[in-house]
Symmetry: C2
Subunit: 244 residues, 2 copies
């Protein structure tokens, strides 16, 4: 795990991490960043619900369909938690989500799986990247927000069942591996491209994500965060039998 969770080198984060929401949110820039973060996560979960439910139609069996439906339902419950939190901090959830709808919708539009295996790889990749991202960001949050983010994270990992299915499909027909490796690369490419778009649009969020406190943010650190997430993705794809 390359996520920096030793706060010694990053005093600004330490300060935030030691505060609760009431104290931390006194800083309007921090508050705006958290509203953005919760809005982005909430819309992401709602969109994931929709796509997983859609992909469940591709399932070759009722058991498989139920597995994907279970993931979709779990994403919906994350959405509910995040939405409740937005209401608690007196923010309109819809207003908080809207700035992220276009990027997330576009990601899903460009990566609609054409068959069951592509759907499984997408569910697995999406779930894993979401976990990585939640972990990256948790260390930079106040205690109350961190608790919520970690609770939502703790409940992911439903995609584990995808790993076995994809592995056996590749064993049965190795050509499947080549096709799915290309697919996983495309998923990652589209995810990064939409993430860049969000980073460019949302200053407060981006500044917080990279640990910045000034009125700008360190583009090199954005790059390093994306690199860490990409590397973790590459390792997972290799473990799955796919060259990333």
């Amino acid at each position: 795990m390359e996520t920096p969770d030793t706060p010694a080198e990053t005093p600004a984060e330490t300060t935030i991490a030691a505060k609760d929401w009431a104290a931390a949110s006194a800083d309007p820039q921090y508050r705006a960043a958290v509203v953005d973060l919760l809005g982005a996560l909430a819309y992401g979960e709602l969109a994931a619900f929709e796509r997983l439910a859609e992909d469940a139609k591709l399932a070759p069996s009722l058991e498989d369909k139920a597995e994907l439906a279970a993931m979709a339902s779990a994403e919906f419950h994350h959405f509910e938690q995040l939405r409740a939190r937005l209401s608690t901090i007196e923010t309109d959830p819809t207003a908080a989500m809207e700035p992220f709808a276009a990027a997330l919708d576009e990601f899903h539009r460009l990566t609609a799986p054409s068959d069951w295996l592509e759907g499984l790889v997408k569910a697995y990749v999406g779930d894993s990247i979401a976990s990585d991202f939640y972990r990256e960001v948790a260390a930079r949050l106040d205690a109350d927000t961190r608790e919520l983010v970690l609770a939502v994270l703790d409940d992911t990992g439903h995609a584990g069942f995808a790993v076995e299915k994809v592995r056996s499909a590749i064993e049965a027909d190795p050509r499947v591996g080549g096709r799915l490796a290309l697919w996983a690369r495309r998923l990652m490419g589209e995810a990064l491209s939409q993430a860049q778009r969000v980073v460019a649009d949302r200053d407060a969020l981006s500044t917080m994500l990279v640990g910045g406190v000034a009125d700008g943010f360190d583009l090199a650190e954005v790059g390093r965060m994306f690199t860490r997430i990409t590397e973790a993705h590459t390792k997972r794809m290799a473990a799955l039998g796919l060259a990333a």
Copy 2:
């Protein structure tokens, strides 16, 4: 409520209703009927999950989308409870569901909403008919199965939000009422037509549903059950401002 829940006139049901599953399931015909019932309900909930998630895409706002997604998620949890019960009574859930897949898939295929209001009416009608049916059947079940069916029933009614939305749409444009009334009639027609198909195919289930204990079932009583459900539907449609 026209559901007969006074057991005095129906000694056969009283016998079953007073038993728990261990005692009641000693009768192989009763056991087969309950496996059919749970299988049909489980597949119905899974199919409802899929369709509601699909219809959520038609939502005009994020709040509306979230409402339909919440209903979908509730249906999925019903599915989970019913599937768990099938496993508990040592039945393969998939085998129990499969006989009902064709009728339910066909129903949904023939009644795919073409817009948000049709989706809302379908969610409301579907939820209500499911409740009516659960209530009809509960009185004929052993104590353990009845408890599950009532627990699942207790958690329905998420469709209430649909009523307000449909009412205001009709107020804003009365022509909408005519179109939706036709739509609701078509929904009911397709539901009955698929139900008839199931009744014709599944002897044990049908016999139990109509309170029969012999090797045949009372077709007139099947008709009366359908009539009761249709009448309740008509009243609901009138309350919604739709001529049924």
